[in-house]
Amino acid sequence: MSGGLRRLPGRGIALWQESLRFRVVLGTILGSTMVVVLLLPALLGSISSGVLGAKEASAVAEATAARSEAQRLLDASTDQAADAPASRRIDAVVAAVGARGAQAGLFEVLVLATEPGGLSATPERGTNLVSESSVPGDLREIVAGDQRQAWTYTLIRYTDGRSVPGLVVGAPLSVRGVGPYELYQLFPLAKEQQTLSLVRNSTAVAGMLIILGLAGLAAAVTFTLVKPVQEAARTARELSAGNLEARIPVRGHDDLAQLGMSFNEMAGAMQGQIHEMEQMSRVQKRFVADVSHELRTPMTTVRMAADLLHDKRAGMPPDQARAVELLQNQLDRFEALLADLLETSRQDAGSVDLNYEEVDLRAIVDRVVGALRPLADDSGCRVVVVGSPSLEVTCDAPRVERILANLLSNALEHGQGEPVVIAVDLDESDRAAPHAVVTVADRGVGLGPDELAHVFTRFWRADPSRVRRVGGTGLGLSIALGDARAHGGSLTAEGAPGKGATFTLRLPLLPPGSATGQLPGQGPASGQDAADPPPPDRDVPGPAAAGQVDPVGAGGVRP
């Protein structure tokens, strides 16, 4: 409970940040409340002064008249019966003045002696049990002290405990031979009070209604404004999710409709451009396929012719025989270069189709080491494989084999006869996406910072002056990087001059986006048995699988 309460401000802040409507409605409520709070007292003040002003004026006029009458009465009584007791005379005044009040039903009368216990034996007289405490001391000071008429609002109290708001008007009275008295007339303002409280309540209700109305209006206006914005946001999300057909429904011709139309125009332009790019990608892929065919066909003819000559070179004069050998070697090189160029072009076009199968990565490593044994023997490097004895990875086996062959041949070329260590490990630091990690480390010439930056650059040579033993195409590491990335993995290099170089290949154990178990590139046309799919370990090897374990085309390897 308290937790919920504590969370409440947090939720309010979140709403404030997230919802435009919440912000506008809350702002409107705060603003209109402020206006109402500032405006209402002023309004009430002017209404009450309007209502009370008239009453006050009439009361003061009445009081002035009543006082004159009272004074006249007192003066007259003095003349007629000077010996009459002061109390009798006061009573007469109260009766006379009170009669006016009673007649009009408008006021009570109270006569007070200015100096209590002084000359007067009658300190006070009043009508209808009105209490002396009804007259504020301040007023009495003014009336008695300044000897002038004065008035103020007060609470009229009766001795029986009743009280009513009212106006009291006071004036000095002099009773000759007795002393100074004060005449107070108390005008009850119950009716006016009622009117005013009615007005006050009504204005309060009106204020509340204004605030609520404004808030409702703000909500309605923001709704009509925010809805199209939300629609635009939803459409944008759909667009970015790949539904290029998504558009905002446009109604009318107002500003919002214009926003919608502009948005739709933008989406249309984007769709056009994406379409164009797809078209270009298709053209590129088509081009790669065409070049592949157009180059390979003459290549096949030349290759066969050269092979024919090569087989018969024993019967040729030495120069011719050597020429045929050179022709054969350069054809091999040309073929490897062609294959690598086509592969590079395919990677650039993003048209690499991976044929995923579940394989033992360690077995692939062992196979590559076996295939490159002659090269290792040549270079004098011992190759040591450490780490997991078995590691199941779902990948395109021929490509992974090609990556590893590239890394190993590179290590052997630069290893300077020192041992090359290949480590196969499982990295489960990211539980959601475990990776297989293969490092190929040599202890040869190593790589400087400049060289590290260029090691994956196409046709780049670490040391142009060095005699090249392996005779790679210069595309091997670049293709290896492309293959690693196509798998959703990575290939990195590190090292220092003189301390060797280490290449690290990281491959996700499962293909990216394979949560459902459906492997990409395993379409219905992949030559599966329809009735009972063979187990994954026998599944769909790549196109290079047919007897092409010799890594020609692996760029940089030719045993």
Partner: protein, 228 residues
């Protein structure tokens, strides 16, 4: 090498390559025949009735796949595809169209000759050998496959595949082993060859190819014949 010179129909639009293929084939003691367009391939085949067809997958006019399907529709002749693209889909499409084997350009003459010889060479055949898988009878000598006396037309390759499986009833063959025994691959081959051809063969010999009884899949290994 061959008692009768094997006649090989080369269907390729590239005249130089075709001529070179001819030179290589002749040097191996075979007789090459040539055809340079897709539409001409089927008539040339009917006229010459060669022992084997070497078919370029990318032909002008009528593509190699269509030629392959037309040939397979009327003959069981061994077909070896030449393909320039190593693309998965092309190879599988070609095999599904009826090709027995394929070879990717550029290839070495020796590879080509090995593939052709493997397709021309047949399994050892004993004249009296008769095998059975379920109600399917395989007469090795007569080179026929029948179910309840009704003949089933299979290609030589499919026949060899069936015989290889039937000779060792219940033995689970790996795909690699079948590639070596039936296709004649000495090194690693493309196991899709086995998958596609088993699928095609099932279409012919099984009563219900969806629940096979003649050629059974052995999970994690390969295939075996059903009980005799």
């Amino acid at each position: 090498m061959w008692s009768v010179r094997a006649r090989v129909l080369v269907v390729d639009d590239d005249a130089d390559l075709a001529e070179m293929l001819g030179i290589v084939l002749r040097s191996e003691g075979m007789e090459p025949l040539f055809c340079y367009t897709g539409p001409a391939a089927v008539p040339a085949f009917r006229r010459e009735s060669p022992d084997l067809v070497l078919l370029d997958l990318m032909l002008p006019g009528m593509d190699g796949l269509a030629v392959c399907r037309s040939l397979r529709a009327e003959s069981t002749v061994p077909i070896v595809m030449l393909t320039a693209r190593g693309d998965t889909v092309d190879v599988v499409a070609g095999l599904q169209a009826g090709a027995d084997d394929y070879i990717v350009k550029p290839f070495k003459p020796r590879e080509l000759v090995a593939r052709i010889e493997a397709r021309l060479r047949r399994l050892e055949q004993t004249a009296t050998e008769v095998l059975a898988i379920g109600d399917v009878t395989i007469d090795v000598g007569a080179h026929t496959v029948t179910r309840d006396g009704a003949p089933i037309a299979v290609t030589p390759l499919e026949f060899d595949l069936l015989v290889a499986l039937a000779r060792r009833p219940g033995f689970a063959f790996s795909r690699e082993q079948l590639l070596a025994d039936v296709w004649g691959y000495q090194h690693a081959g493309d196991t899709r060859l086995v998958n596609v051809h088993v699928q095609r063969l099932r279409g012919k010999v099984e009563l219900d190819p969806e629940s096979p009884e003649v050629i059974l899949t052995v999970r994690g290994v390969g295939y075996r014949a059903g009980p005799p």
